[in-house]
């Protein structure tokens, strides 16, 4: 398994980044850091997917001088999936950031636990 880990270093780095992003999203109290963690987590999945699409010795699937044989290009499907994923990630980041702005305008803090305590005191 050690040799596989070294030759698939793209996937390994992607998994490490996923772990970093996941734990940042879950454990940090600062909202901006949570959003950064979310972005790191999503980017890690895209790295994983892009690494899976790559085939050594072949080029990107862009047609130059007519279509070469099938064996000349890498797998184009994962790139399409990554594009879809990037759109999703941008939308949810924008949504989370707008929620953060609203919370900050109301409570003047970015700390989620502090906001919860203040809400309990407000007694809504």
């Amino acid at each position: 398994m050690g040799a596989n880990l070294l030759s698939n270093y793209g996937e390994v780095v992607a998994m490490i980044l996923f772990g970093i992003g996941f734990s940042t999203l879950l454990l940090h109290k600062n909202l901006i850091k949570k959003i950064i963690g979310l972005n790191i987590m999503d980017t890690a999945v895209y790295l994983f997917l892009a690494a899976k699409g790559y085939i050594t010795g072949r080029v990107a699937p862009i047609v130059v001088d007519g279509v070469q044989s099938v064996e000349a290009y890498i797998n184009p499907v994962p790139s399409g999936l990554v594009l879809t994923g990037i759109v999703v990630s941008v939308s949810v980041s924008a949504l989370m950031l707008s929620l953060t702005i609203r919370l900050y305008r109301r409570y003047h803090t970015l700390d989620l636990d502090e906001i919860s305590t203040r809400l309990k005191k407000e007694g809504l």
Binding site: F18, G21, F22, L25, L26, L31, K34, L38, M41, D42, V45, F48, L49, K52, V77, P78, L81, T84, G85, V88, S91, V92, L95, M96, L99, T100, R102, L103, R106, Y107, L112, I115, S116, R118, L119, E122, L124
Partner: protein, 496 residues
């Protein structure tokens, strides 16, 4: 190819289109467009249901000019059409029941935004129900998440924004895990269409290749969907989100949003991995254990609550635990019981939320139990509705909750290993449900002298009619359960 076969596609596109159009419409126009679209989709889904029942098989429908696997496709059968119709009915009743509160709690200029969100929610539910492609499922899961977040925070107070943030965080954790599982599955099978993936997975298992990656993929996707549908340890976002949002949002969130993800899980079990392979992996036992713990801890937390809407939300945690317990039993009977409970819970939980808002309206807007005392005498319709909902939750015959519990017990008896924990958990959670629901019913029927207003049938006819429809739906599911079970069984047989 008959015209009726085009209807599912038309439903999805119609709801997406009306969502987009609502952004430029004024409040009244958006409201009527939304009502029209939901009713139209309900009717179209009924036609599709009739068609699939008459032919007896499911069919695949090509989206666009290219056949699969180059193009996308959706697959329509009895279960999918039935679920689509049912979701439309629940959404219609939830919107009608919560309309007055929507006018009170949300600014009039933001109403068209609310209808955008409900239309997007409907389109994502329909797509999740009909899709035959794994990545389309992921995209619509995300649309579902975003519209659910919008539904929570359409009512602007501090609680809802914090609830929306917590909901987004947990939901995105689940989405990340789901996406990672889908990518790994694509990597080991090379396909994104559910039928092709199933053949590839069967081949991999037969040749005993990629055993650990397959197990990890199943685990990632199941845990991702479990986080999103608020299974036991991951339910921390649920009470805030359901408890403080406006009431039609709460009804829609509790009945529809989590059910979409659970339906996707059914699809994964039946169409992507195959039932035997899924049952052989030990993830079933993990779901079973979490389901049972959810049943018990959800009910225990509900007993401690002093706020009626948070109590109903914790009851939702328990009911989601029932559904996962049914999946965790690992038999076809267990899955049938879970599907029936999806229907029963969707009908009952939205009923409870709509009834609870009627009770709080006659208690000067307060949700605490000491203020709600005697509310059933001030608002008779809401009192009766809440009683019906509580009896259904506890499991009294005539109502749908009784049929669910009976089905779960039947399924448990067929499975020797897990019979005893299931029956014990069912018994304990029924007692706990009875404790907090019956306590509330007794409290709202305690006569007491107060100065709060009284609301009669004539004052809010739309609300009363909605409550009556909800009660009728519940009793219909409870009394008419045998044909519905046949639908479910036929649908699951076609589902594979």
């Amino acid at each position: 190819m008959q015209f009726v076969q085009n209807l599912p596609f038309i439903c999805i596109i119609l709801s997406l289109f009306s969502g987009t159009v609502s952004s430029v419409l004024k409040e009244k126009a958006a409201k009527y467009v939304n009502l029209f679209v939901v009713s139209a989709i309900m009717l179209m889904s009924m036609f599709v249901l009739g068609y699939t029942l008459s032919t007896g098989t499911s069919y695949t429908y090509m989206m666009g000019h290219f056949p699969a696997p180059w193009g996308n496709e959706i697959r329509v059968g009895v279960l999918e059409a039935f679920m689509a119709t049912f979701f439309c009915v629940i959404m219609l009743l939830s919107l009608l029941g919560g309309r007055k509160k929507l006018h009170q709690e949300v600014e009039i200029t933001k109403h068209n935004l609310y209808y955008i969100l409900t239309n997007l929610l409907l389109s994502s539910l329909l797509a999740l129900v009909y899709t035959n492609d794994l990545f389309t499922a992921y995209v619509f899961v995300e649309i579902n998440t975003i519209s659910a977040c919008g539904l929570i925070m359409i009512r602007q107070n501090g609680r809802t924004i914090e609830a929306a943030v917590r909901y987004m965080i947990m939901s995105l954790l689940g989405s990340g895990l789901l996406l990672l599982g889908i990518c790994m599955l694509y990597d080991i099978t090379g396909h994104l269409l559910m039928g092709n993936i199933q053949e590839a997975v069967a081949m991999l298992v037969a040749q005993n290749q990629y055993h650990i990656p397959l197990l990890v993929t199943i685990a990632l996707m199941c845990v991702g969907l479990a986080i999103k549908s608020a299974l036991f340890p991951f339910h921390s976002w649920l009470p805030d989100a359901y408890g403080y949002s406006t009431v039609s949002s709460a009804a829609m969130l509790s009945s529809l949003v989590s059910k979409g993800y659970i339906f996707l899980l059914f699809k994964l079990i039946y169409r992507v991995f195959g039932f035997e392979i899924f049952c052989q992996s030990k993830i079933i036992n993990v779901l079973f254990v979490f389901g049972i713990m959810g049943m018990i801890f959800g009910s225990l937390s509900a007993i401690k609550e002093n706020d009626i809407r948070r109590m109903i939300s914790f009851s939702s945690v328990a009911q989601i635990g029932y559904i996962y317990m049914g999946i965790g039993l690992g038999t076809a009977a267990g899955i049938e019981a879970s599907v029936f409970h999806v229907l029963s819970h969707a009908a009952t939980k939205s009923l409870l939320f709509i009834a609870a808002i009627g009770l709080t309206d006659v208690s000067d807007g307060s949700r605490k139990f000491q203020d709600i005392t005697g509310a059933a005498y001030r608002h008779k319709v809401a009192g009766i509705t809440f009683t019906v909902g509580s009896l259904s939750m506890v499991g009294i015959p005539v109502f749908s909750g009784f049929i669910s519990k009976m089905l779960f017990a039947d399924a448990a008896v067929l499975n020797e290993g897990k019979m005893l924990p299931t029956l014990i958990a069912l018994a304990i959670s029924t007692i706990l449900n009875a404790i907090y629901f019956m306590k509330t019913v007794i409290r709202i029927y305690t006569p007491i002298k107060t100065d709060y207003d009284i609301i009669t049938f004539k004052k809010e006819p739309l609300y009363a009619v909605t409550c009556i429809c909800f009660i009728a739906l519940n009793v219909f599911l409870g009394i008419n359960s045998v044909p519905i079970l046949e639908f479910i069984q036929k649908g699951l047989a076609m589902f594979v």
